[in-house]
């Protein structure tokens, strides 16, 4: 426009035309795929052919996993402990159960809780990861997220927070009646490797934990301080105690299970897992769940290459594979009947 003319310099008016590059003129080289029935049909059949056998395989694998669940909140002998007032001392109970089949391979023992909302917002926030990492300034002065379980007015709690405070403290033991022997259980190897070796560290000095935790006190609901969680094994004591680490990894749902022990398969009688037969579960019942209508249970499970017993993946694969197959057949029929008539329409796109 003339108004933008610089009258003094006699130049041509500045052009607003964009540069003649491939990008600005939208002439970039491109691949233009066309999604027609002809390209999609083989894909659907291939998906169906892959997914359905895969789903069947996953389902069979899952069905081969053995699992046994024993609810011990208030069954049988343990009903006396369900209403026990813990200030009167400890309560122990026994439950008999039977394994109908051999549990072959490595057997894992879990404890399960119901109606326990480890995923509640205030609960999940209530921890101090720096304290658990061994930072000594956080040890003596935990973060405010832990309140009201940060300190008792004078001394800080180690570990602080509601998650640590509510740690599961029942002791479960198994006794095999067939050979009159207690099942050997391992308490290590149950936490995620990154948790045990990186995320959780004891404060220095590592070899004298009582000194390291001096100036702090045990959480409110605990019966012994954190450096006595496993006095026999220095790599499993203090913050790096695996039961503690497993508990601190908050569960996603209100009904959950956590890995508790592994059967020691290097011992005699149990080198092939747990044989079928009668067993007795010995419980030191310390964890009160009645106040929130919770339930406690013990679960024994084998695993497979894909984890625990969960038929969902197998069923889902079979379902999606079948749906793809049905869709493929339907599209094939449509393509055969109406394909030629509409090829003109298809070609009109992206000519």
């Amino acid at each position: 426009m003339a108004t933008s003319y610089n009258k003094e310099s006699n130049e041509e008016p500045t052009s607003k035309r964009p540069d003649n590059t491939a990008f600005k003129q939208q002439r970039l080289p491109a691949w233009q795929p066309i999604l027609t029935a002809g390209t999609v049909l083989p894909a659907f059949f291939v998906i169906a052919i892959i997914f359905i056998p895969l789903g069947i395989g996953l389902l069979i694998t899952s069905n081969n996993i053995r699992e046994k669940e024993i609810d011990y909140t208030d069954q049988g002998d343990c009903s006396k402990c369900a209403n026990w007032n813990l200030t009167n001392g400890n309560c122990a109970c026994k439950l008999n159960f039977t394994l109908e089949e051999d549990f072959e391979g490595q057997v894992y023992m879990y404890y399960g809780l119901s109606n326990f909302y480890q995923n509640h917002r205030r609960y999940v926030k209530s921890r101090d990861d720096n304290q658990l990492y061994g930072v000594s300034s956080s040890l003596k002065d935990p973060s405010s997220e832990c309140a009201p379980y940060a300190n008792n007015g004078t001394m800080p709690y180690a570990p602080c927070g509601a998650i640590a405070n509510s740690m599961f403290n029942d002791t479960l033991k198994l006794y095999f009646q067939g050979k009159n022997v207690s099942v050997p259980l391992l308490k290590t190897g149950i936490a995620w490797w990154t948790d045990k070796n990186v995320k959780f560290q004891n404060p220095s000095p590592n070899d004298d934990l009582k000194k390291a935790f001096a100036g702090t006190q045990k959480p409110l609901y605990w019966s012994k301080p954190v450096y006595e969680l496993d006095p026999t094994d220095l790599t499993n004591n203090g913050f790096i105690n695996e039961d503690f680490i497993v508990w601190m990894r908050t569960a996603a749902l209100p009904t959950f299970r956590k890995l508790y022990r592994r059967v020691n398969i290097s011992e005699p009688y149990f080198s092939n897992g747990l044989p079928a037969g009668n067993y007795v579960l010995h419980v030191e019942y310390n964890y009160p769940v009645k106040s929130f209508n919770g339930k406690k249970r013990m679960i024994l499970s084998t695993t497979s290459w894909m984890g625990g017993k969960n038929p969902f993946l197998g069923i889902a694969y079979i379902t999606v594979g079948s749906v793809c197959f049905v869709l493929g057949v339907v599209l094939f029929i449509i393509h055969q009947k109406y394909g030629k008539r509409s090829s003109e329409f298809i070609d009109s796109v992206n000519q």
Binding site: L28, P29, Q32, P33, L35, T36, A37, I47, L54, L58, Y110, Y117, N119, H120, R121, D128, D129, Y133, S143, G189, I190, A191, W192, D195, V198, K199, T250, A251, A252, L253, P254, T255, F256, R257, K258, L259, T303, S304, G307, G308, K309, N310, F312, L313, A316, V320, C324, L327, L331, I334, H335, Y338, R341, S342, F345, I346, S348, V349, N350, Q351
Partner: protein, 256 residues
């Protein structure tokens, strides 16, 4: 956001977030912004030659006619369907905190969140990939680049103990997801379950519901070839065009 909403039913309505806050922030910034930006800049629904030959096609987009309620509701419902599949797919995989791996360890709460958001990022980007019809090198770069960036970011964020963050919630979470075979099986399954309806819709639409664009192009071409058809009509005569084209197609087939 729907998975967050659905999760509230499972956490006692305590506003506990499914995703870590860093993921939430970066989601809108990085994981989904660049691909859609490239799509908006570079997508060519009809090629330039088509548009130059049939300028009447520009009338279709006058007054924002294509931003109508029906497609919008359709896309929203599709998005809801995706959200349900991500969330319940991941939730059912978790089950009763079934063991995630051969060594018996179980998943936790943040693992569920990262699993859902992984499904989300991959599905959203792949859906955009299916809708893109004009693939320049930039499209490839932003779409595959976003996916790769997501993986690298997750590994980085969860791989180190960041001293300036007081909350190391995601430490080791992505790695533990990667070490679980079940997750590797679940993610492709969810991707395919989410994208199949979209692909089917696209294919069927081309066969049965050719858009006005295609109808006009076909009509114009036929006119050029000297067949007796009406000119590319205005919107009022769309119905007439369809029936007349059907008639012409039938008659041309019978003459061949």
């Amino acid at each position: 956001m729907t998975p967050q909403f659905l999760f509230q039913f499972y956490c006692g309505f305590s506003h506990q977030t499914l995703y870590d806050s860093a993921y939430l922030m970066i989601y809108n910034l990085c994981f989904t912004s660049l691909p859609i930006l490239a799509y908006g800049l570079l997508e060519q629904y009809q090629s330039m030659s088509t548009l130059q030959n049939f300028p009447i096609l520009y009338r279709r987009i006058s007054k924002n006619a294509l931003l109508a309620w029906r497609p919008f509701i359709g896309w929203t419902l599709l998005g809801l369907y995706h959200a349900f599949i991500f969330f319940f797919g991941s939730l059912l995989l978790l089950g009763d905190s079934i063991a995630a791996r051969y060594y018996g360890q179980v998943f936790g709460h943040w693992m569920l969140g990262v699993l859902v958001s992984t499904n989300l990022v991959f599905t959203v980007n792949l859906k955009l990939a299916f809708d893109t019809r004009y693939w320049t090198w930039m499209n490839h770069f932003v779409i595959w680049g976003t996916l790769i960036f997501y993986v690298i970011f997750s590994l980085f964020y969860g791989g180190f103990h960041w001293p300036f963050l007081h909350d190391q919630a995601l430490h080791g979470v992505f790695l533990s997801l990667l070490s679980s075979l079940q997750v590797w099986f679940l993610v492709p399954l969810i991707l395919i379950a989410c994208l199949v309806p979209d692909v089917v819709r696209q294919v069927l639409a081309k066969q049965f519901f050719p858009g006005k664009t295609q109808l006009w192009v076909v009509a114009w071409r036929r006119q050029q070839r000297g067949e007796r058809t009406p000119l590319a009509p205005s919107t009022h005569r769309h119905h007439k065009l369809v029936t007349s084209l059907a008639g012409i197609t039938a008659s041309s087939e019978s003459t061949v």
